[in-house]
């Protein structure tokens, strides 16, 4: 007991310190990415993918649509002004300061930067011809629009390069234009505005504030101007999911607590007695929150939704304590109760801990949350109950015993042998179904069902504004920037240079290190004595001071190449993450233009070393399938581990039969889900872990406490409270929560019925041990 009290004291102190220090800095995370496993097991690729997706998560697009250009233009200006007033939002794209800084940086590398046309001229044209062309250009229309003064760039080649670069980076998506779309009736004018959320795009508090601000702005625009406003961005999906989860968390949590409170007050008729279960719930959830937040830096909204349902598990310890404590104290058999409680705790911990092997961030967090919550609730009961509670405790002995008798009546006809045979049959059928049936669906899009309006807006905006394939791109990796370029060139040869020209990638914008070195040498023809510039200036009748200065700058310039990192720092998100460095390796993305031949691109990437074709949906589906299969194997492992614990405790092979209760409940649940038309996904599989833990609780208490009538009443009460908490999740509008809840609802009812069948055997074996049986 000293050990438990010390552990309880430490946990209590930790929880108190956590809440005192961070009560106003709790971060509730809503990242939908947590629902799907990492797309890649390779840490560098994972880092690159996360960098890009972090940038994308911060960005959203507002699209103005209307019949009148004036209305669109005015609404667009109004939108810009009002978005600028929102602290947490900045307009995406290069602003004047950023552009000036970028041009200043590029200026330092100008002797290494050439457009493909300029390279061609330098390679194939004579100095004389280039000098004549350069002079002719000065007389042409538009020749005066340059970035650098004539003295620094007399050929205006740097201006041409920056124009080429800026056109490639920003394909005019923010320009007003006329479009026709299947969503419209005829032609419409459209203008898009891209904005970036500075911080907290996935935090529930920020989402609430920003959603309200954007909604108010949207309404004002619709009232003032005759335009439609459409939205696109991950932010709107995560904000909706978080809002739904929060609403359900409040509803499910409150309904669950209310139901349990009414039930317990009816059974125990004392507020003092209720203190223990509710105190254990509060301390359990408080410690779980503190532990999860400390480990992960935030608590995921789904963890809290699932966590709310843990009430049904943590309350069980108090219930068994209430039903047995008076009796145990009288018979001096407290150790028996504590042993049953401990065994129940251990099996639950094994069940929940297995969730952490799923590879899903949300379930790993749930595993930490559940294990710490259950352990703390258990410690609260064991340590506080002797101090707080009277003995013996009164409990209702009319309705529950009567209900129990009604349930037991049909069960009495089922012998343990018959049950075991039937259970074996069901498990075989289930196994055959799992092996040969069409029983699963791992599509990640099933995890979250966005409202039709958000989805329709996303599709519309994407079809009009986005130039690139959503969720499909390439990652090219290498030990150096040069190797990345080399691999890209090899891949490009297979796909076709013209096709790749419009793809967004640093390799299309900035020349490779080797090309930059060649560009420098090629430009010698421009700056050398009697070179292009000297000849041109002399024919224009100016002093050759300008040519000398340029020669000097050319010879004195740094030999460093312009690297992707130096250039990308000036670009807005998510473009600034198009190349990342991770542990001395380079990873660069290639965003694929819409309408490209995906089969060709994919096949070329398979033939080129270091080039990976990423299809986020397909990869997530594949990863989820892998996780589901591995979770099924882990479930078997959990059965083996619990079997091992049972053998240690009871030292009899017969004790392994206890596993038949959750095993049969699991197999029957899978078949019922199949009859209901549900395809299995990872979250169904994860719920099966809890069926194992809960089923083991029931059968352990039946066996440890000799299946006395009061034990069975405690199990009945426990089953009802569990149904109150988990069962309500079956009515969730979030598909994964619904899958989890429905599986647990069916599985736990079966657990209870099968535990009662098993309990007959124990009560027959140990009949007469307790007087009240």
């Amino acid at each position: 007991m000293l050990l438990w009290r010390s552990l309880f004291g430490i946990a209590l102190f930790f929880t108190a310190v956590f809440f005192i220090r961070s009560h106003d800095a709790l971060t509730i995370d809503t990242d939908l990415k947590d629902l799907s496993p990492s797309l890649s097991e390779e840490s560098g690729l994972r880092y690159a993918l996360e960098s890009l997706s972090n940038g994308l998560e911060k960005q959203f697009i507002l699209l103005l649509v209307g019949h009148d250009v004036d209305q669109i233009t005015t609404a667009h200006n109004f939108l810009i002004q009002n978005l600028a007033e929102i602290n947490n939002v900045s307009l995406a794209g290069l602003d004047e300061l950023q552009t000036a800084a970028m041009l200043e940086e590029l200026k330092a590398y100008r002797f290494r930067l050439l457009t493909p046309e300029q390279r061609q001229s330098l390679t194939y044209s004579s100095v004389e011809k280039l000098a004549v062309e350069a002079q002719e250009r000065l007389f042409r229309l538009g020749g005066s629009v340059t970035v650098l003064p004539f003295e620094q760039d007399p050929l205006a080649w740097f201006s041409d390069f920056t124009a080429y670069l800026l056109a490639a980076i920003n394909p005019q998506q923010d320009q007003i234009r006329e479009v026709s779309n299947e969503s419209f009736d005829g032609q419409r004018y459209v203008q898009a505005l891209t904005a970036t959320i500075q911080h907290g795009a996935l935090e529930i508090a920020t989402q609430e504030v920003l959603s309200a601000q954007l909604l108010a702005l949207e309404q004002e625009i619709k009232e003032r101007y005759s335009v439609e406003l459409y939205r696109s961005g991950v932010f709107f999906f995560t904000a909706d999911a978080a809002k739904k989860s929060k609403r359900e968390m409040s509803l499910i949590g409150a309904s669950s607590l209310l139901g349990i409170f009414v039930l317990l007050i009816y059974v125990f008729r004392s507020l003092l007695v209720l203190m223990l279960p509710f105190l254990s719930i509060a301390l359990g959830l408080g410690f779980a929150l503190a532990a999860t937040h400390s480990v992960f830096g935030a608590v995921h909204i789904l963890t809290i939704v699932f966590g709310a349902s843990l009430v049904g598990v943590v309350i069980d310890y108090s219930l068994h304590y209430f039903y047995h404590i008076g009796e145990e104290r009288q018979l001096n058999k407290n150790r028996q109760l504590y042993r049953a409680l401990l065994l129940s705790l251990v099996t639950s911990l094994v069940g929940f801990a297995a969730l952490s092997f799923s590879g899903l961030a949300a379930l790993t967090k749930l595993a930490v949350f559940a294990c710490s919550g259950i352990a703390m609730a258990w410690l609260s009961v064991v340590c506080l109950a002797p101090l707080l509670l009277p003995s013996p405790i009164f409990y209702e002995n009319k309705l529950l015993p009567r209900l129990l008798t009604i349930i037991q009546k049909p069960i009495a006809y089922v012998s343990q042998r018959l049950f075991l045979v039937a259970a074996a049959g069901v498990m075989c059928v289930c196994l055959v179904w799992l092996i040969f049936g069409e029983n699963s669906n791992d599509d990640p899009r099933l995890f979250y069902k966005p409202p039709a309006s958000i989805l329709a807006q996303e599709r519309l905006v994407s079809s009009i504004v986005s130039h690139y394939e959503p969720g499909r791109y390439l990652i090219i990796e290498g030990e150096s920037v040069a190797q990345v370029y080399e691999r890209f060139d090899r891949w490009r040869l297979l796909v076709g240079t013209d096709t790749v020209q419009s793809f967004a990638t640093i390799m299309n914008w900035i020349p490779s290190p080797q090309t930059q070195a060649e560009n420098f040498l090629l430009q010698n023809d421009l700056y050398k004595k009697q070179g292009v510039i000297e000849q041109m200036l002399s024919s224009l009748g100016t002093s050759n001071a300008i040519a000398k200065n340029l020669q000097h700058s050319y010879l004195q310039v740094s030999q460093d190449n312009l690297t992707p990192q130096v250039f990308l720092q000036y670009l807005p998100e998510p473009l600034n993450n198009l190349c990342v460095q991770y542990q001395q390796r380079e990873y660069c993305f290639v965003l694929i233009s819409k309408g490209s031949d995906m089969r060709l691109i994919r096949s070329a990437s398979e033939q080129t070393i270091g080039v990976t074709f990423i299809n986020t949906v397909a990869m997530a589906e594949q990863a989820l399938k892998k996780q589901r299969v591995s979770a099924s194997k882990l479930l078997l492992l959990a059965y083996v581990l619990i079997g091992f614990i049972l053998l240690l405790r009871f030292r009899s092979m017969n004790s392994l039969l206890m596993l038949v209760v959750p095993g049969a409940a699991t197999a029957t649940t899978i078949l019922i889900l199949a009859i209901l038309g549900q395809s299995l996904n990872l979250f169904h599989t994860m719920a099966l872990f809890l069926i194992l833990g809960l089923g083991m609780d029931y059968v352990i208490f039946s066996r440890e406490m000799y299946a006395s009538q009061r034990t069975l009443q405690a199990i009945l009460l426990s089953a009802i409270t569990t149904v109150f908490s988990f069962g309500l999740l079956a009515f969730s509008s979030v598909p994964v929560v619904q899958a989890f809840g429905l599986t647990l609802l069916i599985g736990n009812v079966l657990n209870f019925v099968f535990a009662l069948i098993f309990a007959q055997h124990y009560s027959e074996s140990f009949e007469g041990v307790y007087g009240n049986r």
């Binding site: 004036d70 233009t73 000065l138 229309l141 538009g142 629009v145 224009l540």
Partner: protein
């Protein structure tokens, strides 16, 4: 009573202010319209003077142009170089050099210039007001030297355009129109438009001969303007 008096004055002041501001804006628009051509077909001569600080004299070029509100613009330089730019109303741009086949241009600069010039020639004030801040300039050193006429200044609203172009000034000088383009490095180019001849809308015969008059040596220009699709690049 005092409140009523103050309120009445405020109403009068607001009324006067809005009338004055709309009158000023109206004047500006009228002046802008006066500077722009109001015809569907016309030809003219141009003189381009590019001023670069470090060069001893301006770079002067000259030539002829033909504008059709239906087909587009031919901008033909005949001295000191020979080169023609064709900007079609369909949004295509071509470059033609002596002895060479027409070459389609895919450049942002020419795309922008073509939209600007075609709208300017069409006297599309809506376009100008949407893409530029339009105001009447108080003084412009370069132009004031030449003349004391009215001057309209167009400052681009688009950030991407402002990266290269600072402002465009429009001015009337006798029968000539002057377009002055100032870049971010304070270098300027003046286009002096003169000898504008207008043609009657619908008389294709006259329009056709006017088009051919731009360059007697090159009959290809009008063909490219009228049938640009025949000269599109293969890729």
């Amino acid at each position: 009573m005092i409140r009523l008096f103050v309120c009445s004055w405020l109403v009068v002041l607001i009324g006067v202010a809005s009338t004055v501001s709309s009158a000023v804006a109206g004047q500006e628009q009228t002046r802008l319209e006066a500077l722009l051509p109001q015809h569907c077909f016309f030809t003219g001569n141009f003189l381009q003077k590019r001023n670069i600080k470090s060069l001893p004299a301006p770079l002067v070029s000259q030539g002829r142009f033909f504008y059709s509100c239906r087909a587009g613009l031919i901008w033909h330089i005949d001295s000191p170089i020979m080169e023609t730019l064709i900007y079609t109303q369909a949004g295509l741009q071509f470059e033609i050099r002596p002895g060479q086949q027409p070459k389609q241009i895919n450049s942002r600069l020419h795309s922008y210039l073509s939209v600007f010039l075609l709208n300017l020639m069409a006297a599309n004030t809506d376009y100008l007001y949407k893409n530029f801040k339009v105001d009447e300039a108080s003084s412009s050193v370069e132009l004031d030297k030449a003349s004391k006429g009215s001057l309209i200044r167009l400052t681009p609203l688009s950030k991407s355009v402002r990266r290269g172009l600072k402002k465009i000034e429009l001015k009337e000088e006798g029968s000539n129109r002057i377009i002055r383009i100032v870049n971010v490095n304070q270098e300027s180019t003046e286009l002096i438009i003169s000898d504008v001849e207008k043609y009657i809308i619908g008389d294709n015969q006259i329009a056709s001969s006017a088009c051919s008059s731009v360059s007697k040596e090159n009959s290809l220009l009008c063909d490219v303007l009228l049938q640009p699709q025949r000269y599109l690049s293969k890729n």
